[in-house]
């Protein structure tokens, strides 16, 4: 994907100069390896700072919310689905955006990379399919496919859904992937095992809310975690509060989550928070035939109903 870099810069510079957009939302190099950071470019001469590689897993749609300018955004498959969600939810208008679409080959998980070496990583560089990791003592080359973020390894919507211009030809979407294997594994457990599975999963949660903050769907002016009258979720480390937080965060993303993985990537404790959202994603497909962000023409599942919706669980 680093091959996209020149094209991204070329398009960005052109649309800034032509006045089609006021800003570009993209990535620049971070201060640590594998930590590209979101940035806003306002002047054509600054597009040189833009980067694109396999460390752009943060969902940039998070940075569109409530902005007034005309925005150019560099968007991979999942990002464009979140843009669609924003448009459908009347959070932004398509006319305000120039979408630079990126056919995505997946983002790498920095924790996976770190687990392959035993000293501090100094530099990470990449080619199309390989990642070169340099530490103080060593240099190794790894296959990108072994390092993908979990959500990327099961992603079947890598191509942008909406775009104004593409940085490269559309790619072939992976087939024969079981996207819900992780959900099924939990579904096959007993209630007690499920309880313990999630107890274990969130046992290290420090309630920093990074997962919420990284998610483009979480734009409520007052998040339920901050409500105080009544206070639905306590602020301490009570286990039932932590679980309530995770339940409600996920539930608020029901039918909207694109499995972009931004939440999971942001978690400083490495908690697989997608285990909650993934179940809702699967249910939305199975119960309502819905996948988030694929079309501008349909209402999201909780803003709609069918007369014959499933109700075998109701007396």
């Amino acid at each position: 994907m680093i091959g996209y870099m020149d094209k991204i810069k070329e398009i960005s510079e052109r649309i800034l100069k032509e006045g089609k957009v006021d800003i570009i939302v993209g990535f620049r190099k971070g201060s640590l390896p594998m930590m590209n950071e979101p940035c806003v470019v306002k002047k054509a001469e600054d597009v040189k700072n833009l980067v694109w590689d396999s460390n752009c897993g943060i969902n940039l749609v998070n940075y569109l919310t409530n902005r007034k300018e005309k925005i150019g955004i560099i968007a991979k498959g999942c990002d464009t689905r979140n843009i669609v969600t924003h448009i459908v939810e009347n959070k932004i208008k398509k006319e305000q955006l120039f979408i630079i679409g990126v056919p995505c080959t997946g983002m790498i998980d920095k924790n996976k990379v770190a687990s392959k070496v035993d000293s501090e990583i100094i530099e990470v560089t990449e080619n199309e399919n390989t990642i070169k990791v340099k530490t103080k003592t060593n240099e190794i080359e790894l296959n990108k496919t072994d390092l993908l973020q979990e959500n990327c390894s099961i992603c079947v919507h890598r191509n942008p859904v909406v775009y104004d211009e593409l940085v490269a030809e559309l790619i072939e979407e992976p087939k024969d992937i079981d996207r819900y294997a992780s959900v099924k594994a939990v579904e096959s457990m007993s209630a007690e095992e499920k309880w313990n599975y999630f107890e274990d999963l969130i046992s290290t949660c420090i309630r920093c809310y990074a997962c919420r903050n990284a998610c483009p769907l979480c734009y409520c002016p007052t998040c339920f975690v901050d409500e105080s009258r009544p206070q639905w979720v306590g602020k301490g480390q009570d286990k039932s509060d932590i679980r309530t937080f995770h339940f409600l965060r996920a539930f608020h993303c029901a039918g909207r989550c694109t499995d972009c993985g931004s939440c999971e990537r942001a978690c400083p404790m490495g908690i697989k928070v997608r285990d909650f959202t993934k179940k809702l994603e699967k249910d939305c497909v199975e119960l309502f035939g819905w996948e988030a962000g694929m079309t501008l023409k349909e209402r999201p599942p909780l803003d709609e109903f069918k007369l014959n919706d499933p109700e075998d669980f109701i007396y």
Binding site: V183, A191, D241, F247, F251, D283, L287, I314
Partner: protein, 140 residues
């Protein structure tokens, strides 16, 4: 433990199930007393927050009931609710709340006999599960 009785928090829609419960009462239909009823304007008003709060404060079960689809006082509130309930119930059970702790029904205000049937069903299912052990907020 044999004389243990579950406490069940019930959310009833004002226009239907609440009326049915009332009718069952004035008709002197005998039924269990395990429920603590909270009247809501519509089943569409139910938020997962309510259900989680009831469970965390120690309810052994939660029962949500509204008008039959097509009979909603607000035309379509329960249709939206139905989708929400499906996802909510599945996610609760997915994270380890036993199936049956949270129950749903449609009971119109004329159906006092259905009310009695369902309350018996709800109570016996929750009784069979026993007292809740997890997801209870500690009291400090």
């Amino acid at each position: 433990m044999s004389d243990w009785e579950p406490k069940i928090v019930s959310f009833f829609c004002n226009w239907c199930t609440y009326g049915a419960a009332d009718l069952a009462g004035v008709s002197r239909l005998e039924h269990p007393t395990n429920t603590r009823v909270i009247r809501v304007p519509c089943s569409g008003r139910i938020s997962p927050k309510f259900i989680l709060a009831a469970l965390r404060k120690g309810a052994d079960g939660v029962w949500v009931s509204g008008c039959h689809p097509g009979d909603c006082h607000y035309i379509e509130g329960n249709y939206y609710a139905r989708r929400k309930f499906a996802l909510m119930k599945n996610l609760l059970e997915h994270m380890g709340i036993e199936p049956g702790r949270v129950q749903f029904s449609w009971i119109s205000s004329a159906e006092s006999t259905k009310y009695v049937t369902v309350i018996n069903e709800v109570v016996s299912k929750i009784k069979a599960l026993g007292p809740r052990k997890n997801f209870i907020k500690s009291k400090n």
